[in-house]
């Protein structure tokens, strides 16, 4: 396995302990690549192909089959709208429309400035607070469009300030 070619991938930091040389290791390897880099890059696919001997095309097929894997990086703030049944019944749609309006984002999109990404998830497990969204690790429940607008604006402000500080 560890031939000269490996050098080329040296900086690539995928958790190889998850690879025990057995069949069935592909998905854990991809998960570890995504955990490390936030997405599965072309380079990661080539590397995993190199280590496991599975053709890159086959790996790409697996990556695109599962909703979990992304082939592009996410924005700094990740907003997830719950589209589970309870949230749907309790009004997830106006929530989506509000976010779309505030940030000009649709599902699976990242804003051009790289500050926000919008994802859809099924039940995040607090149906009693429906409708619910999460931003990064924080949960916001019992939302109405006006309440949500305030939340989003405060995140926008924070993100802008941070970006400003960084550029200074």
């Amino acid at each position: 396995m560890a031939d000269n070619n490996t050098q080329e991938f040296k900086p690539f930091n995928v958790d190889l302990w998850k690879y025990d040389g057995k069949k069935g290791a592909l998905i854990p390897l991809l998960q570890s690549a995504q955990d490390t880099y936030g997405y599965v890059s072309e380079k990661a696919i080539d590397y995993i192909s190199h280590v496991t001997g599975i053709a890159s095309a086959d790996i790409y097929g697996v990556v695109t089959f599962y909703a979990q894997f992304r082939t592009k990086p996410l924005g700094k703030n990740v907003i997830k709208i719950c589209n589970g049944t309870a949230c749907h019944v309790n009004g997830a749609r106006p929530i989506y429309e509000t976010i779309q309006d505030e940030l000009d984002l649709t599902y699976e999109e990242t804003s051009d400035d790289g500050l926000f990404s919008l994802l859809s998830v099924a039940c995040i497990g607090c149906c009693s607070l429906a409708p619910v969204i999460t931003i990064n690790d924080e949960t916001f429940g019992r939302l109405t469009p006006p309440k949500l607008r305030k939340v989003i604006r405060s995140f926008k402000r924070k993100a802008k300030e941070l970006a400003k500080q960084e550029s200074e």
Binding site: F69, G84, T85, V89, N90, T144, P145
Partner: protein, 585 residues
């Protein structure tokens, strides 16, 4: 000294449970040894999170609800140290939340919210691993299977296949290497029973799996858990390590010749991977597409070896059955369906959360006696059971007992246990559209009818919700449904039309109202609503600016109006208004 238990299931955490826990920790630092702090899993009353249980060694423990970090100080002061119960915050006790726990029978949830899921000692204290010990020391594998058959337990993952029979098949299958798989993929977007069990009582699932492995003759297993359940995965990892250390997993378990290991595989987000053959492909590292059965996994499953797949809840029942005997379990339930079933209650019901009832109680009893009825005391319109594979049961039929056969007769299915309650504000066409959107996205694409047929059905449903449907669309929906059911390989396609078929059957007049009268009786489909502005309007002009057709006019700081002839019903004014001044009727 009093003991405080904070409910830290996912529901508790999302309601701020960890902040409450930290607040207690801070109090403890200031006043060392003034009380004992513990965490526990999902207590089941998700509607009153964050929940905190207090016990003082003797007497019944009692529970506080809706605890926030700033309530913690007062609680420590007055109750934990002062010894005075704060009546206003109590959720249990006289006159409060009557019926929620009293009307339940908890077998699967026997330890949920009672024990610290991170402590194997607490599980053992409550008869944990007794079932495994009994099986290994006093029973042959055949005895174990016999007890499970006697219990009448049927698979809780949705299909309802008799568990004892499945074990018998796998035991009888040719091959020296056999696998056990625990299906923890829980794909129904409105269900969280399996997650709560894994988070709150992981050892009961591990013990169930070990007993199954002994019965079948397997020494290796996988838990396939969806990656969206990080807490469940963490608790499982911890539990597996503890069980190994105590000798309940590993080699020569409890001094016998029985060896058994459990590995965790994280799913990667595909609903179809809950289907057993797709799940096996996914563990093998492939695209999770189902294949034709037979051969069933019991004959040829993981790596082409005989494999027994059961659901989380199915396994969690097993230790109780072995400890108490199959007959004790079969005492609960109906002729056709034995034992208990856990339901995840959500939607327009007052008390949402986890509920476990004996089979045979009626749907109405669950909704009203246990869950307190409908929000705002509205009228019950329907319940949805079985998620994307199930259907809507109208209120008029909710007197039927919960039983596999009876529920199938309505066109819905028992499913894995998601139970969504709907009232007059829920549009049934929109519900059908919601589930079709889900199945259409999740179809793996292998079968043409499932891939394209669901798409065509969805297009029709969207059209109807936009007020652009025709009566011929209803016939097309029915025809497509039949074709998709017949021409799909796996359960996903075979059941995908169910939400549409049941709503068409019981709520046809709502479809007709959308098509002929261009009205949504539940006021949900925005294209069919009339937008008006009420006197909460402050004249901030935001809606007028947002309106793409300039249908809203008004002076600054004056009440605005919507000109209906220009309005295209996009709903933009409704979402931009910060004062709740735009109304949909």
């Amino acid at each position: 000294m009093k003991t405080v238990k904070v409910g830290l299931g996912t529901c508790g955490i999302s309601a701020g449970g960890e902040k409450v826990f930290r607040a207690f920790q801070d109090e403890l630092k200031e006043r060392p040894n003034s009380f004992v702090l513990q965490e526990t899993g999902c207590i089941g009353m998700c509607y009153r999170e964050v929940l905190v249980e207090v016990s003082n060694g003797s007497g019944e423990p009692y529970m506080y609800g809706e605890i926030t970090p700033d309530r913690v100080g007062q609680m420590v002061e007055e109750d934990l140290i002062g010894g005075k119960i704060i009546e206003d915050w109590l959720v249990t006790g006289e006159g409060r939340e009557v019926g929620f726990f009293e009307n339940q029978t908890r077998i699967v949830l026997r330890n949920c919210g009672k024990i610290d899921p991170g402590s194997i000692e607490e599980y053992i204290e409550r008869d944990g691993y007794k079932g495994l010990e009994k099986a290994l020391k006093n029973m042959t594998p055949e005895d174990v299977i016999e007890q499970v058959e006697k219990s009448g337990l049927r698979g809780r993952g949705g299909g309802g296949f008799p568990t004892g029979m499945k074990w018998k098949f796998t035991r009888g299958a040719k091959g020296d290497k056999k696998y056990i798989i625990c299906n923890a993929d829980e794909g129904d977007p409105g269900a969280f029973m399996d997650r709560s069990v894994l988070e709150s009582d992981p050892h009961s699932v591990l013990e169930g799996m070990a007993i199954a492995a002994y019965a079948i003759g397997s020494d290796e297993s996988y838990i396939y858990c969806r990656a969206e359940y990080p807490k469940a995965i963490a608790r499982l990892r911890q539990a597996i390590a503890q069980a190994k250390q105590k000798g309940f997993l590993g080699e020569k378990i409890l001094g016998s010749d029985f060896n058994f290991t459990i590995k965790i595989k994280e799913g990667a987000g595909a609903f179809v991977c809950g289907e057993e053959t797709a799940l096996i492909h996914s563990i093998e590292g492939l695209r999770g597409m189902p294949r034709f059965r037979p051969p069933f996994p019991a004959i040829s499953g993981l790596w082409e070896k005989p494999t027994n797949i059961n659901n989380v809840e199915t396994f969690a029942n097993v230790p109780w059955i072995i400890t108490n005997g199959g007959e004790a379990y079969a005492k609960y339930g109906t002729e056709d369906s034995k034992g208990t079933k856990v339901f995840a209650m959500a939607g327009k019901v007052k008390r949402t959360g986890l509920v476990e009832v004996p089979m045979g109680v009626t749907i109405k009893e669950v909704v009203f006696d246990i869950c307190g009825g409908i929000i705002d005391d509205n009228e019950l319109k329907a319940v949805q059971m079985g998620g994307p594979s199930g259907g809507c049961i109208p209120a008029s039929m909710c007197d039927i007992p919960i039983d596999y056969q009876q529920i199938n007769k309505t066109g819905a299915i028992m499913g894995s246990g998601g139970l969504i309650v709907m009232d007059s504000t829920t549009c049934m066409v929109d519900v059908a559209r919601f589930f079709l959107t889900f199945t259409q996205e999740e179809s793996c694409g292998k079968c043409t009818f499932c891939r394209i047929g669901t798409k065509r059905m969805l297009e029709i449903l969207v059209r109807i919700t936009m007020g652009e449907g025709t009566m011929a669309d209803l016939d097309n929906l029915e025809e497509l449904s039949g074709q998709i059911k017949n021409a799909s390989l796996c359960g996903l396609g075979q059941t995908a039309p169910n939400p549409v078929l049941t709503t068409l059957k019981y709520f046809r007049e709502e479809y007709v109202a959308h098509i002929e009268d261009k009205k949504c009786p539940a006021h949900e489909c925005s294209a069919l609503l009339t937008y008006t502005i009420n006197d909460k309007c402050t004249g901030c002009v935001v809606c007028a600016k947002a309106c793409p057709t300039e249908a809203i006019t008004g002076e600054k700081k004056q009440l605005h109006t919507v000109h209906q002839d220009q309005c295209i019903k996009c709903g933009k004014c409704y979402t931009v208004c910060r004062f709740d001044a735009v109304e949909k009727v």
